[in-house]
């Protein structure tokens, strides 16, 4: 079976670990081998959280530079920063709602413009699917469901060997009960947004 490699980057607290967990459970439901790893030591202190997910026949749980098939970024600057994980055939999915790091607030760095960031990512990869996932999460009824919006977009690309149905089943069983409905709605909104951009 082919191997598909996904990198997810986010800022601590954006819920990317839950999105990895949902994808892992969906893989288990689909009988697809899955291995993943995450670095989250300082996540609660505002740092970057990176997850690697390897679907298919592979033993490794991490992804080397230039070897991601998909990069999913929860924050545009962090998507750009993770471009070293990509190659010319990588598909990139990114939220466009910025969370400027504190260094910008104290004048130690300039946050690039959204236009510039998108142009750079487009020029170096196969495809960029980018939209304001926070806006869609709000529409779904919970600003914290950005992770589910992005999952919807990711599954729409059909790059991962997972069906929409299995991911939704994992959302139903592995996310907190009172939020299941908004999570599913967020997933659908992300799915449609990616479809509209395809």
């Amino acid at each position: 079976m082919n191997t598909t490699r996904l990198i997810i980057v986010a800022v601590g607290g954006q819920g990317n670990l839950l999105s990895s967990r949902v994808l892992g459970e969906a893989a288990l439901l689909s009988d697809i081998p899955i291995r993943m790893s995450e670095i989250h030591g300082m996540a609660q202190r505002g740092g970057v959280v990176e997850s690697a997910l390897v679907f298919g026949d592979a033993e490794s749980t991490i992804i080397s530079d230039g070897e991601a098939d998909v990069l999913m970024g929860f924050e545009p600057l962090e998507t750009l920063r993770a471009l070293n994980k990509c190659n010319r055939d990588t598909v990139v999915i990114s939220n466009l709602a910025p969370l400027p790091p504190f260094t910008v607030a104290i004048g130690k760095g300039v946050y690039p413009t959204l236009e510039n960031m998108q142009a750079l990512i487009r020029a170096k990869t196969k495809k960029l699917i980018a939209f304001d996932a926070v806006d869609l999460a709000k529409k779904a009824g919970n600003v914290m469901s950005v992770n589910m919006v992005l999952l919807g977009a990711l599954i729409q690309t059909e790059i991962l060997p997972l069906t929409s149905e299995n991911v939704k089943e994992a959302i139903r069983t592995k996310t907190v009960k009172p939020f299941v409905e908004t999570n599913l709605k967020a997933f659908e909104l992300g799915f449609s947004a990616a479809k509209a951009l395809a």
């Binding site: 288990l28 740092g47 033993e59």
Partner: protein
């Protein structure tokens, strides 16, 4: 029910490496578990903590790793299966107990988990703890995958009982923090009732006893070696004449590289799962069947040195390489691409590495370093000490915890740090050999862990410095574990004592002790000034709960603040405090109401009194 207690053998469950280790211990019938928390091992004990609340397992957060190991040394010598969990540097703290426990041995299985951290994702060094196997004579086991980790823990308990020695279970961050599907096994009913048979001539390590016990240890190493020669955890796959010897997660990268480079018929892999003692006969046989051998291991050339010496004994002259300028480094962790590239180079096969896009035209991206949280009480304490020490030529030894981040600008409180508790000991030295004002910082949990002996030293030897104890009521950095100063009733747990830092400090003989509430800024600065002007050892105890912990206990009551029209854009708030709740919009400082916890620190330092509680706005 805690999910690791699930009694459904055969069920496939997604697990973190650390959960798999804890589950392995449960399946092995562990009855006593101890730890001092430390990344990347913390989730193992977090699961034990939860499991202990609904099963017969006895679990404790011990004051430090040495104590943790001593507790299980007694339990295992009373016939109770035990586990002791720590990060790699924790084993340095426990090493005194470890070295002679190896002489004494155990009666029931004892597994010591040490989690190494190549690349230092959250550690002060990347020491390779496999050398503790050589140093102590104890067996070392190293899993390569999450599912193997669970089964290997069960085996480690059996091995420990067979040898009557503790077994060291060594992992690396990538194993601890990887997730994969694990098949649940049967849970062995734990034996929780211990019995201790007096046998002082085998248990009391006076020289005459130890001389005898050392002989026994050497015999046990020999026994362990024989077990390793035939263990399924030291295995060979493939049948080419190019050999690769590897361990731990490196095995995964090697296995993937063999497939990616299409070397299935050329390469033979020897995976070492019991890395102390090294399986000499197995390795010698492997070498004889190879034309050249590559050793793939993160960290030090631990296996490479052994393999080369075995080759010498057999007068084998085949090339054996591992750590070399053009191959593997002793630095940091490996990855699949790196291993693939080194294997292609060493075995001289063509390989085109993945093409990373040219990123030279990217603008300089603003960094996103970790920062003290919004409303962190440490920020207030650092600020107050900074103000109180203005004009003094200071040295500020810091210690290990969230507050280490205080060394970053603009707080810039942290000048020296080597290990847990070092803030106090090094302050003795700095104050002796310099004429600077020495101000040390240590957290509550670290103070209990290893700060107390340093403070006793300071009082006895009459040193001259101020120790600031940052008491936020929890072990925050590693995920809010309890420590001896924590009020366990906050967690609805009974049956615990509680140790007062203030009483300890006073009992040690510190004559000037100040207690501050750091969010009362002016008063805190006054108290700290008094402590700083004291000649001798003075202690400031800064008491304020960690806001994340307070939030989890539903004890966070502050209301968010906002920046009103009175603001004249001095920006002292943002420039001196660097609280992450601040942001700049239209060239004005604003406060994110969702991040602000209402600590009021910024409101107290604003020269215009322009920062106000949000409720007053309407």
């Amino acid at each position: 029910m805690q999910k690791l207690l699930s009694d459904s053998p055969g069920k496939k469950v997604l697990m973190l490496g650390n959960e798999a280790i804890a589950r392995g211990a449960i399946e092995a019938g562990v009855a006593v578990a101890t730890t001092y928390p430390g990344t990347p091992s913390s989730e193992i004990s977090l699961n034990f903590f939860q499991i202990a609340q609904e099963s017969d397992l006895y679990f404790e957060y011990s004051t430090n790793e040495k104590v943790a190991l001593e507790v299980v040394a007694a339990a295992a010598n009373s016939g109770v299966r035990s586990m002791c969990v720590m990060k790699h540097v924790g084993l340095n703290v426990a090493a005194d107990a470890l070295m002679t426990l190896a002489y004494v041995g155990v009666k029931a299985g004892l597994v010591i988990v040490t989690a190494d951290d190549p690349y230092m994702f959250s550690s002060q060094n990347e020491q390779d703890n496999r050398y503790y196997g050589k140093l102590s004579g104890l067996p070392i086991m190293e899993p390569s995958s999450v599912e193997e980790a669970k089964d290997m823990v069960v085996f480690a308990f059996e091995l420990s009982e067979k040898l009557q020695e503790p077994v060291i279970f060594r992992t690396t961050t990538r194993l601890n923090h990887s997730t994969a599907a694990v098949v649940l096994g049967n849970i062995r009913k734990p034996c929780i009732e211990g019995g201790f048979a007096k046998d002082p001539f085998n248990y009391v390590t006076v020289p005459a006893v130890s001389r005898k016990l050392h002989v026994k240890l050497l015999q046990n190493i020999e026994k362990a070696k024989n077990i390793g020669e035939h263990s399924k955890y030291n295995f060979v796959v493939g049948n080419g004449t190019w050999g690769v010897i590897c361990n731990g997660v490196s095995y995964n990268y090697v296995a993937d590289a063999v497939k990616d480079l299409k070397l299935e018929s050329a390469v033979k892999i020897l995976r070492i799962g019991i890395s102390h003692p090294m399986p000499q006969t197995l390795i010698k046989k492997f070498l004889k069947d190879c034309e050249k051998v590559l050793v793939v291991e993160e960290g030090e050339p631990y296996m490479e040195e052994a393999v080369k010496s075995f080759a010498q004994e057999e007068r084998l002259t085949l090339p054996i390489m591992g750590k070399a300028d053009e191959l593997f480094s002793r630095l940091y962790e490996f990855n699949p691409g790196l291993v693939r590239q080194c294997m292609a180079k060493y075995f001289n096969v063509t390989y085109t590495p993945a093409e990373i896009p040219d990123l030279s035209d990217l603008p300089e991206l603003p960094q996103r370093p970790p920062n003290l949280c919004a409303g962190c009480s440490h920020r207030a304490t650092f600020y107050a000490v900074k103000k109180a020490s203005e004009g003094l030529n200071t040295i500020c030894p810091n210690d290990i915890g969230c507050y280490t981040l205080g060394f970053l600008p603009p707080l810039s409180m942290g000048d020296f740090l080597i290990c847990m508790g070092s803030s106090v000991g090094t302050s003795c030295g700095f104050s002796k050999v310099t004429d600077r004002k020495v101000i040390a910082f240590i957290g509550d949990s670290t103070f209990f862990h290893s700060g107390i002996p340093g403070l006793i030293n300071a009082v006895f030897n009459n040193h001259n410095f101020t120790l600031v104890i940052l008491d936020n009521g929890t072990t925050a950095m590693t995920g809010h574990q309890p420590n001896p100063g924590v009020d366990m009733q906050n967690l609805n747990l009974s049956g615990y004592g509680r140790v007062s830092i203030e009483e300890i400090v006073k009992a040690i003989g510190v004559s000037l002790v100040k207690i501050i509430k750091p969010f009362n800024v002016k008063k805190s600065i006054r108290s700290i000034k008094e402590a700083l002007s004291f000649k001798g050892v003075s202690v400031v105890i800064s008491k304020e709960m960690c806001p994340l912990y307070a939030k989890s206990l539903k004890k966070l009551k502050g209301k968010p603040f906002y920046v009103s029209e009175k603001c004249k854009n001095h920006r002292q708030c943002i420039n001196q405090l660097a609280c992450p709740a601040f942001f700049i919009k239209n060239d004005r400082v604003q406060i994110d109401p969702f991040m602000c916890v209402g600590c009021s620190l910024c409101a107290q330092i604003c020269p215009e009194n322009a920062i106000l509680p949000l409720k007053e706005r309407s």
